[in-house]
Symmetry: D2
Subunit: 262 residues, 4 copies
């Protein structure tokens, strides 16, 4: 998706942008293929052309782009609540994740945070994603395939609270599950010294218990926060905050593992 | 900083963590070196050891870590207002920046956003940073050197409003200057199709004018927002939002260049 | 509504509360009367009984109460956008309005702010409400009658921007109209020394112009603000901010007239 | 303070306004009196003049005004944390308090909320204020005297959690103490049917327990919220939210007593 080739090759993931309300992700394949709800398309002529060109399809003109992370999210399916983009970007930052990072998450949910992780660690990184519910793992796996990032993620059906995290030396562990405190001990064993544990939680009660138990378990610099996103609208009559706004998504908790009591 | 070698080599950037209030970044050098305000240190014994070990210095024990982006910010100097970490992480996401991206920013300011950009594009990316004020560029350049990312950034004293952006095919252009509208035209010529222009602005007036002029200049999906970070404190007496909070940092504007009128 | 008589008299306004979703305001009248959408009722037996008793109607039990301001709002009709309760309460406070105050407002809108004003000034106060649109004035007038406060309000069809405010010595003037700056001069002539001018505005552009022109017109202590109301939900699973929240209602501007340049 | 006499009489409370940073409350007395930190003043000439006039003192010109609630707050002393004006105004609204209301509060604290209550109930209302700490009651009492509202308030040293509220038929009970749940039962006995119980609390833990116990005690329409006040600054360079903002003051809880299980 990055380290872009100068021209499109078979198998590349294309982001076709026709308008703010008409865009889609498609893998570049030879021959005629059907696209759900849109009829058929033959993308063969794009092979060997540079990214950024245009493509005519069903009477409309599309820009053919390499997708960015935000574009990928638009193509995902969801099952239950997902981590929003504002929170995902913040979690990556709090967790100190960048190109080359080795990270684990539990649970996978619909794979939205997984996509952000796989994007951020780049081709040199590693993402391990655990969920004890096989049906969620299937949704997450399909989402990762859909955005061309499946190779960077190893999914496993596993109850990490009961069975631990079968890894060591991780840069970060991210938790999006109802009882994150049940994984704190396991996370400390999986983290490298200096690695970070992050949790994403809807309620104050979960936040409080997670912060207290992380402190008790010798995590350092444990803190919690909330991020509020306020859209601003610029219209004919002037500029104002949007009347619509998500009142709450989730709280974020982060702490750092220094290898034990310090 | 990432793609970590299994052991420390001369020239690596170390993050020494002693406590929440005692941590510092140091380059790994042979022999005795003086550290401003802290006396002298000889890090030679760390060469060849793996990251995550401990180091005794002046009677204190430090964990020796590879720094993450948040750790780098702690080592930066500031001249005037800087882009906060919450906004930097969000700007990277809005701008669609990831490993391998080619981006430009104006102005450089103290280089805080530059550090975030250099970190996020990884070793395969490119960051071009312009400022018309040489004294700021010096601060920014020193900050990038301090965190070991100077090689990924090309700084140039340049008034981009007057003289344009001497690049093409960029994935993103980021503006942190008082009159971002004066660079919109130049940015459109520097961006690849599908690339994004982002601006960071303190006032509603700047936000409004930037959004309107980006729309007039045929940018697509132009929108504005504000991100509020609310720390939550878990103490003896219970859990509550922190009494202290930044009331405002800046507004964020983003739009996408589709190669001209669509 | 206040200075309660010890027993209900004919003509009193009753608040019948049956459940959080079943309550209504009714005037106490002798004999059988029909209530829109609910059939008929005969409240005669309540005459002479003390407030706080119960009443059986159509198989349901109702508590018979003197309505508070919040109860009154529940009975109002709306035409277009109204001032929310959180903003109305704050405006009253910023405007320094209390029992006995003499105030004017323009425009009347649907009369929601008018109701709050009439309630707060008490029987010894005075409210003058102007709107140039007769159809709005009718809605407002009906709303005031509905809540039993019509006697405290004098409505007038009047374009105060063009024709001024035909009063002097007011404690406060409140503006809920698109171009409040066009009434600043008129308001200064209508206010007593020390009186306050308040405006309620959706956009930052209106806020900015209103603040600047109030300062130019020698108003003192001119300032602007926004009030955000965040509901918190306590449920089975714990406590969290509500997912739903109004992202924006209006900005509030207030300034004080000291009789001219000071 | 309201029901204003047309002219100043001895004993009236004057608000002398000289500039945004120079204003004070003084009782109108005959003869020369000393004012702490400001030398002496003789206000005798004001007797018999109408409010709104000017007065020269120590070379400065003051406007002589009837104080509004906000002006009163400026004259209060504080001991420990006080209820902010934004929260006080909202509490009055949530509690349904207006001219003529009969209310009780515990604890008195420094009397800031007491002042707001005394102002809002008007001369026909009643305020009962309880605190078990005599030293706080003294501060509160002095504050009420200072703003000329002492006659509307009956203070009592009393631990209402242990000894109940010695009143019945109240329109509202307001709680600003650490364990409001310990007063819920007592409040229900003191309230009239339809009356409201409000609590002001810093932590989510207190909020949660108060809401749950009020529901268990058969209070109706129990809900919680938080009010955030965001100042907006209009300056030379444009308009923006203020960089400074209180991140948190307190949560508000309100419920209604319907006389028992419904």
């Amino acid at each position: 998706m990055t380290e872009a080739p100068p021209v499109w090759n078979e198998g590349d993931l294309l982001f076709l942008w026709g308008s703010p309300r008409d865009s889609l992700l498609l893998p570049l394949q030879r021959g005629v293929h059907s696209v759900e709800g849109r009829g058929v398309v033959d993308l063969t002529p794009l092979i060997g052309t540079p990214p950024g060109g245009t493509f005519e399809w069903a009477g409309r003109r599309y820009r053919v782009l390499r997708p960015s992370l935000g574009d990928l999210f638009g193509a995902l399916e969801r099952k239950a609540q997902v981590v929003t983009q504002k929170d995902a970007a913040r979690l990556l930052h709090l967790a100190g994740i960048g190109p080359g990072s080795r990270v684990a998450e539990a649970g996978s949910g619909s794979g939205w945070l997984t996509v952000a992780l796989a994007f951020a660690v780049g081709p040199g990184g590693e993402v391990h994603s655990f969920d004890r519910r096989p049906e969620f793992l299937e949704v997450a796996r399909a989402n990762l395939r859909r955005v061309g990032l499946a190779e960077r993620v190893r999914f496993e059906v596993r109850d990490v609270a009961a069975n631990g995290i079968p890894l060591t030396g991780l840069d970060a562990v991210l938790l999006d599950l109802a009882e994150p405190w049940s994984v704190i001990e396991a996370a400390s064993r999986a983290l490298a010294a200096g690695g970070r544990l992050c949790a994403y939680l809807p309620t104050f009660n979960q936040l409080e218990r997670t912060v207290r138990e992380m402190r008790d378990a010798s995590f350092e610099e444990v803190r919690a926060e909330e991020l509020l996103l306020r859209p601003i609208e610029v219209g004919e009559g002037g500029t104002r905050p949007s009347f619509e706004m998500l009142g709450h998504t989730g709280f974020l908790v982060v702490g750092r593992w220094m290898g034990g009591p310090w």
